[in-house]
């Protein structure tokens, strides 16, 4: 039932509104709303009960193992949530005077420093509000850099075929055309193809490393050299930073600019789709172009950067200064983990992924890159199962839900057929991984004995398989 359908005309949660003021001041008649919006008319209990019960229809980290590849669904510390929700932070207006904001600014300044150190970069701007906006900022900086050098011929951004959709979409938003570079059978970028592709038109290359193939790009140094020699810059999509945090700094690999997904690597909650935060970090030559504002430190005082500090900035990306609450959570996380803790993230995320990969191999699943170590994630292809039982990657995924595990990422990256991208993260235990293995073992048997069970799955959730085609054809996107 929709919240609208639970209402009755005239019902309301009366205590929640301020009530009527003495004098009923009027707006000019022609600018005044004539019909009130048809919002739900419900009691406070109805609202609480409705949304509490709705929440119970979700899978989440707090309730399920959630090995969604590329999404780093690790434990979101409740301590970070509390710290970011302190009244001094939560009630702080974004334009509050700097002198009343020193503690807040100190947190952001420290976070800038921590992210610079962790990535091997020189400058950091925290303002991008998600990974994709970080990408935009990064590519816009590359653009600004070339333009400042009057290098107007560079019109193309290269991306590996395995790249996330935001990469090519971003390049286009920045006014570039996109050229895809093929990936070899071992998961590494096709270096020859890259060499052939670079040239004076190359503005830059966007890539993740480890890549979305779940392997570490071994020829990264050569790739960097190739692009740099052609006059292009290297963009690092930090979505997979969890795999190498503290182990390898993107700066050391030759990247010029990157974003981090704090809502992945720094354990801030995804909130059913957002918010995130996608700070950008840059090497020296891109510092002038960083998006603003940035927190600056003079002796003991913190302040916001002004236009004088960054006259060549690509500009502002958000109304205020990005997703502050996410940044505060990430700062808390970094401080609790510290240097050693950040390093352990990469180590145990990688251990879990490789162990789980091995166990799935034991069960007979097919790896996309069987000769490779897993990074913090790995890919299996369910093509053999599709051939044998007629059950595809989605059928397996839906059946897994019945076992109370969230499904891995399906059908991404696009270049591996019937793929699952599996990312267990470092916060899950060996015992949890084994339960997952047991579930897959059982589903494999079901696929053999009763493939219909998979094809019509899920069977135990609030709804069964939904008709996506109908959803798109007969658009029903609002009540009434």
């Amino acid at each position: 039932m929709l919240i609208f359908e639970e209402g009755q005309p005239g019902r309301r949660a009366a205590a929640e509104a301020p009530g009527k003021s003495g004098a009923a001041l009027k707006f000019p008649a022609h600018l005044t709303r004539q019909q009130p919006p048809k919002l739900p008319e419900v009691s406070e209990l109805q609202v609480v009960r409705h949304y509490t019960n709705l929440s119970r229809k979700n899978f989440s980290i707090d309730t399920q193992f959630y090995p969604l590849g590329s999404c780093t669904m690790k434990y979101n510390p409740r301590g970070a949530h509390r710290a970011a929700s302190l009244p001094g932070f939560l009630n702080r207006h974004p334009l509050m005077a700097e002198k009343n904001s020193q503690g807040y600014l100190a947190c952001l300044y420290d976070l800038q420093e921590i992210l610079a150190e962790a990535t091997g970069m020189v400058g950091v701007s925290l303002t991008p509000m998600a990974g994709a906006q970080g990408e935009f900022a990064g590519i816009a900086m590359i653009r600004a850099y070339h333009q400042a050098r009057q290098d107007h011929a560079r019109t193309e951004i290269l991306v590996p075929a395995a790249a996330h959709g935001t990469n090519p979409a971003t390049a286009v938003m920045c006014g570039y055309t996109v050229k895809e570079i093929p990936v070899k059978a071992d998961g590494d970028v096709d270096l020859d193809a890259l060499k052939a592709a670079v040239g004076p038109q190359t503005a830059g290359l966007m890539m993740t490393n480890p890549s979305t193939c779940g392997v570490f790009e071994r020829s990264i140094a050569e790739i960097a050299q190739t692009v740099h020699q052609a006059g292009g810059l290297l963009y690092y999509d930090g979505a997979n930073l969890n795999a190498i945090l503290g182990k390898v700094k993107p700066g050391a690999m030759g990247f010029d600019v990157l974003h981090l997904n704090l809502h992945k690597t720094f354990a801030t909650p995804h909130g059913g789709g957002g918010p995130g935060a996608g700070p950008v970090a840059v090497a020296k030559r891109l510092v002038p172009y960083l998006p603003t504002p940035i927190v600056m430190k003079n002796a003991e005082d913190y302040r916001w950067s002004t236009a004088e500090d960054f006259p060549d900035s690509i500009g502002r990306l958000s109304a205020f200064m990005g997703n502050a609450g996410v940044l505060l959570r990430a700062y808390y996380y970094a401080r609790v983990l510290g240097a050693e803790g950040l390093l352990r993230v990469a180590e145990y995320a990688t251990l879990n992924a490789n162990y789980l990969m091995q166990r799935l191999v034991d069960l007979g699943f097919t790896l996309a890159y069987p000769t490779r170590r897993a990074s913090h994630e790995f890919i299996i292809s369910l093509s053999p199962q599709l051939k044998k039982y007629g059950t595809n990657a989605m059928d397996f995924a839906k059946r897994l839900l019945d076992y109370s595990f969230h499904a891995p990422t399906t059908y991404f990256p696009l270049l591996v057929p019937e793929c699952w991208l599996i990312e267990p993260t470092e916060t899950e235990s060996l015992q949890q991984l084994e339960l997952f293995v047991q579930a897959l073992e059982s589903i494999l048997q079901e696929a053999e004995q009763n493939p219909e069970l998979l094809k019509t799955a899920p069977h135990t959730l609030p709804v069964r398989r939904l008709d996506d085609v109908k959803a798109a054809r007969e658009l029903d996107v609002k009540y009434g």
């Binding site: 929640e16 921590i114 789709g273």
Partner: protein, 458 residues
Amino acid sequence: MPYIPHTESDVTQMLAALKIDSIDQLFDEIPPSLLAQQLNIPAGLSEMSATRLMTERSTVSDKQLNFLGAGAYEHFIPAAVWDVVTRGEFMTAYTPYQAEASQGTLQTIYEYQSMMTQLTGMDISNASLYDGASALAEALLMAVRCQKKKKGQTILMPAQVHPFYRQVCETLVKAQGIQLHAVPYDDAGQIDQAYLAQLNTDEAVALVIPQPNFFGVLEEVHALTDWAHSKGLLVVAQVNPMSLAVLTPPGQWGQNINHAGADIAVGEGQPMGVPLASGGPYFGFMTCRESLVRQMPGRIIGRTLDLDGKKGFTLTLQAREQHIRRSKATSNICTNQGLAVTAATIFMSLLGAQGLAEVAQQSHHNCEALIKKVSAIPGVKARFDSARFHEVVLELPVAAESVIAFMAEHNIQAGVDLKPFYPELAQHLLVCVTETKTESDLDRYVASLKQAIEEAKN
């Protein structure tokens, strides 16, 4: 090891299964020259110490009496909102890619979309964009795509659109060759219609109409909408959703029956149940005319049926999005501001149309009350003589900067100095008053302002 559950024996067992001796071996594909040294980051803290650190830092900003607005508004948020929003099932879920395991989030967004279309009077709502500023920028990009047949790519952008919003638009649209043409404001603090009347609009594709505008002033939305449509421009409404409880919604702007209503309406969703929180996470909302939906950026949730014919919810029209269309997507947005949207949905359910109207009315009322009180101070008066919502530009006899600094000493955040944004408005302060302020708050403000002015004059 914080957050890592592995015991020594777990690790031993796992390494044995992998036939390796140490975790380090798992990184043996990485060229050794790339491996980092120990990070120069402070050692880890316990939850207790980290909490204490941040508590100490947060208290600096505590207990300010806040009259700042300018795009982020302090409204009272019922406790039920965030108590429910922060349930693990809402907070720690990912984007609802597995629809059957995400019906909670999906239905919530469907309800949100329904509420936003009601509030704005528009046909279709998406599931959110980052914030009000980036939503406006996305609306401009969308407008340009919708007007592909037109020869130009110019957007008419009033000067009294939030200065930061205009900056964000600059950043986000300029790489695509889109121009923002500044439209001046008149003496009433409204879009200068005389200026528009003489404007050559051949290159223009859309007019942005802020309601209320950055000065808190209400625009003549009907006349502007009709004018824009008569010139073949799309109307992009940039609205405060709280104001729509009492003001004509964008879907009903204009008197031209063949083409009434704004074409795209966007805004900052923060007033609807999202705390000030130093600037975010907030959320940008976007609604549009049905015919434009395929150019809309961001996720959209649709209702459909399951195998048993039972109603359910799922992501729809994904062919607009980056994960399907890649370089041909309507935007690069992926992660949005879902949790803030959940809060807004619960907030709107709790307040209802009547509650929102009360909040809007009471805010307006308190703003007018403050204006009356401060006007008694010599040299202080409201700058524009137009109908307002809940913000006002005060003309002061001294620099706004000094007043702000003085009042901050007394834990009052007095308002926003307009000089950096509008050099012509030196000695002008943008002040916001919402329903959260009591008579005694207003009196405290007035007394402090008086003192600040005297101080500055000496």
